[in-house]
Symmetry: C2
Subunit: 572 residues, 2 copies
């Protein structure tokens, strides 16, 4: 069948259409991949990215973070429009050409129509907000401001193996890009790197075609802060309460970051302060080299090419963790490669032999000082500050490894108190101290909770469902590289090693809950018995007095003896 509306392509006409796509064009069209798929989610994602960056920066500089998060409603649109001219005269004059083209399809256009019965979909009016996030961090060197806020895939964390909230160098510039796309407003940044330095005020946009920042203004300014960064992004969004809201996100951020002092002003102007519950900053996580077991051929080849080491021996020892002289020697002997060979001159086949030899060599697991878990006592403190319950417990697992990356799992649990008894348990998910609110069902954490057997710990649970009861379960994974299921970092990918650790930790808190529930049950039964004793013994005394014609002291004696005996029996 001949084509309809246009000429057939050849290799040559197809070649003319080939074009490079910039990463900013790609994410503009696919912005749901970054967490900007709905106005409500866009507002949350913007705040989340800015808060992540502020917390990372404060901790890296050893400063106790004090953050301000503010959402200000902005003036509405439709200003200056000539509304008088509007007349719904039903003119659909643009349709002619297209309708004709469409008509040509004739009998083959099964199921098509000419567009007339398609429901009309004018863009919905959305609210505008200015999001402000301000920290007391180290500030940003002036030359870096444009690229940090105005270029996708630019950052300090991607190339290092260290636990941090940010990973990819996309988040905050994507938020700025979304604001720019929806409101046309530039990103505004205030930053100051110390009391002796001037503060700077930078306005910038992102060139969507080139993925490069365009600075609109850059001035010295007066700022009351000695040090810190303030970012303002204007965007269309939607402010809602509930499970997926900014409010919930900030609440959970305070729980997982007990060292954070947070002030939050919502669009209604209501101010809420979450004071820090500890003075102690988290242990600063160390950066590590890659572990040999986590490296693939492609990466190994590149490392061989990029290294400054002159010999294979030093390459193995310097570029990887856990490789000492003996391990290096063993790898090279197995691969049958000379120790002094220049790594840059290694042929592809030799690189493969090297990789195979690594797989055949026993190498210790990576070090774990690159991880900074919240810690048992602070998980409990966080839960206590956020959830009113009768029983709290927590577990920090030893570190484990997936694909060469160390990670560590913590679980906290709060039971009873004012929590609803007949609803499903609430699961709070965290990755490197960041709350995960969306894509709950795609997350390995949810899977681990669902597939744990909570009935054996004394809770109710339907098949394939969360346990039910007055219960909050907090799960945290800390890793040098958390594997997320998408760039928007909303769910942890299903690596078996990771799910196994989640389940082991859940089992531990489950057993502790079970002990608590049993103890409570025993106490309840004991109390009941005690009540029986106090209630019935006097009557038995009276009855015996009557039957045996005892005098009052004898009756009292009987009562005391009986009570003693029963109390003693109750204890066993």
């Amino acid at each position: 069948m001949p084509p309809r509306a246009r000429a057939q392509d050849t290799a040559e006409t197809l070649a003319d259409k080939q074009r490079e796509i910039s990463i900013s064009e790609f994410f503009t069209k696919n912005r749901h991949l970054l967490g900007f798929d709905s106005p409500a989610k866009a507002l949350l994602t913007t705040i989340k990215e800015a808060v992540d960056n502020s917390l990372d920066a404060c901790e890296e500089a050893g400063l106790a973070p004090q953050l301000l998060v503010e959402i200000r409603p902005e003036a509405d649109t439709f200003k200056g429009l000539n509304l008088a001219s509007l007349q719904d005269d039903g003119a659909e004059d643009g349709e002619d050409g297209a309708a004709k083209a469409n008509g040509k399809t004739g009998g083959k256009s099964n199921g098509r129509n000419n567009g007339k019965n398609i429901s009309r979909l004018a863009p919905a009016r959305e609210e505008r907000f200015r999001v402000i996030v301000e920290d007391n961090g180290p500030g940003i060197v002036a030359a870096q401001v444009p690229r940090i806020f105005g270029k996708l895939l630019y950052g300090s964390k991607f190339h290092s193996l260290r636990q941090s909230r940010g990973q990819q160098g996309i988040g905050i510039s994507a938020a700025g890009m979304y604001g720019q796309l929806t409101t046309g407003k530039p990103v505004m940044v205030y930053t100051r790197t110390g009391p002796t330095k001037p503060a700077r005020r930078v306005q910038l946009v992102l060139d969507l075609k080139k993925n490069e920042p365009v600075v609109i203004s850059d001035d010295e300014t007066v700022w009351e802060k000695d040090r810190g960064t303030r970012v303002e992004i204007t965007l269309t969004g939607s402010y809602k309460r509930g499970q997926h809201s900014v409010d919930t996100y900030l609440e959970q951020t305070a729980i997982a970051n007990p060292h954070l002092h947070l002030t939050y002003i919502n669009p209604k102007g209501e101010r809420r302060v979450y004071p820090n519950t500890t003075e102690e900053l988290p242990v600063l996580a160390a950066e590590i080299k890659p572990h040999p077991y986590g490296v693939e051929l492609g990466l190994l080849s590149r490392m061989l090419k990029d290294t400054e080491c002159r010999t294979l021996n030093s390459f193995l020892k310097d570029e990887f963790c856990r490789v000492g002289p003996k391990t290096a020697e063993q790898i090279l002997t197995t691969a049958d490669l000379p120790e002094r060979r220049n790594p840059k001159r290694l042929a592809q086949d030799d690189a493969r032999r090297l990789l195979d030899a690594i797989a055949l060599t026993r190498i210790p697991a990576p070090p774990t000082d690159c991880l900074s878990p919240i810690g048992d006592s602070l998980v409990m403190a966080g839960l206590r500050s956020g959830v009113a319950a009768d029983f709290y417990t927590s577990v920090t697992r030893p570190a484990a490894v997936y694909r060469g990356n160390p990670f560590q799992v913590e679980v906290g649990l709060a039971y009873g108190g004012g929590q609803p008894a007949d609803e499903l348990a609430r699961v709070m998910r965290f990755a490197n101290r960041v709350p995960l609110l969306y894509q709950n069902s795609a997350c390995a954490i949810t899977k681990a909770v669902l597939t744990s057997n909570w009935r054996s710990y004394g809770l109710q649970q339907s098949k394939g469902a969360l346990p039910s009861g007055p219960l909050v379960i907090l799960v945290h994974i800390a890793s040098v590289w958390v594997p997320f299921t998408s760039e928007s970092k909303e769910a942890v990918a299903h690596y078996p090693e990771i799910i196994r650790e989640f389940k082991l930790a859940l089992q531990e808190v489950g057993r502790q809950l079970q002990r608590y529930l049993r103890r409570r049950q025993r106490e309840k039964e004991a109390n009941q018995k005690q009540n029986y004793i106090q209630k019935y013994i006097p009557h038995i005394g009276d009855a015996l007095q009557e039957i045996l014609s005892l005098d009052s002291p004898a009756r009292e004696n009987v009562i005391t003896t009986l009570t003693d005996t029963l109390e003693r029996s109750r204890k066993f």
Copy 2:
């Protein structure tokens, strides 16, 4: 608390660490985003991307596609290794330094360990395959080969609004990159653009740091084909049967592409041919301009800047679909902007006024000749060729629109036959004729099937579950831009407009199924009655003969009359 292992960062030290991240580095580290998260999925994704490209190219050139897909096992690794040197002497000499650093954390290292009890995780041995996909398409111009196969985000489809399988210019180069990362082997491409042109054979790899192709060899060669492209990628993978397998993917591809002639050779050397069930090529979908309602401020600003039109009036008419002279005039009057203003000189505020005016103007829905559904009869033919059933039906909905993008939904249903009666229905999901195999629960198609009420059509269905019965449901969405939930294009995003269309189509086939089931039920009952008549009437005749002492002809007469009467009553 002072940091442990390294100096605190300042704005200056942080600035030193900032770096640009190339898109290839990004996707190397995040390759699960592209569908390369497991060896089995990597094999499927590679074939899928190559087949998508071949089908798109053949159709665009008006050629009936004849494809060959072959998976060849490759020789194993561990060649040339000095295995004699291997001795598990338990030397963990590399651990010293790290263990010391770890020891320093002292009491604060709650839950940490020194790595000794971490379970060892050497990389698992994976199988290697060479994937070969060959087509009879238009071929690729020599100059384009390197970038098409060796550069991420390069392609012909991203910038056009037209229904095609490929969208983003990532897929095939990502597959080559994965092969290179896991086996070090370059991508091999054979291509020829016509019988008078020489065939070329190109070997290339991707520079992971720069996201640029590196050509290893490029020669003229002899090829028996007049025209076409053959790509060979060597990768580690895993070949499995079942729901998520290459076999299933190719089977469903044949169903949704009845014009495709496909030969498939699996790793065991078994050859299977799926002949085309129609000679007719799909209607070639037209490319459209963006619809004004689908454009946001950021995109509008860029269009204003990039346009070659000299006046706002011509800008509106030329750069958008469905805007004729009258609509353009109305928009500009509402925005209070002069028709002859140069679009390139429009200030930001004016652009916003323009956008607001668009929202206030009635504009017809986009044309739908940009869509190429499979069509009722071919959906049925496809189902017939792939599924043995008693009843087939299908529905093609009229086109609809989400965010300014036209789309169209088709649903097919096959019931009965050899299909298992007590299992859940099988749902086949397709987007632009490509089968979607993974992330079933994240997909809007699944959601629409789950939330439809199948009990009202005579099927069994538990709450929140798929209907059960001997049933296959095929759902296809065709669109100029299918919104997927991730780059790996495995699930359709939950736009309410799209889910609504899915549900309407499902209801239609549901009602047709209901009619069939009722008819079958009536026929069954009628047959039963018929059986009763044939079974019992002769006995009644015998009984009457005895009671009334009838002769044989009278008995026959009674039997005939009774049968007639009952037959007639049965029909009402």
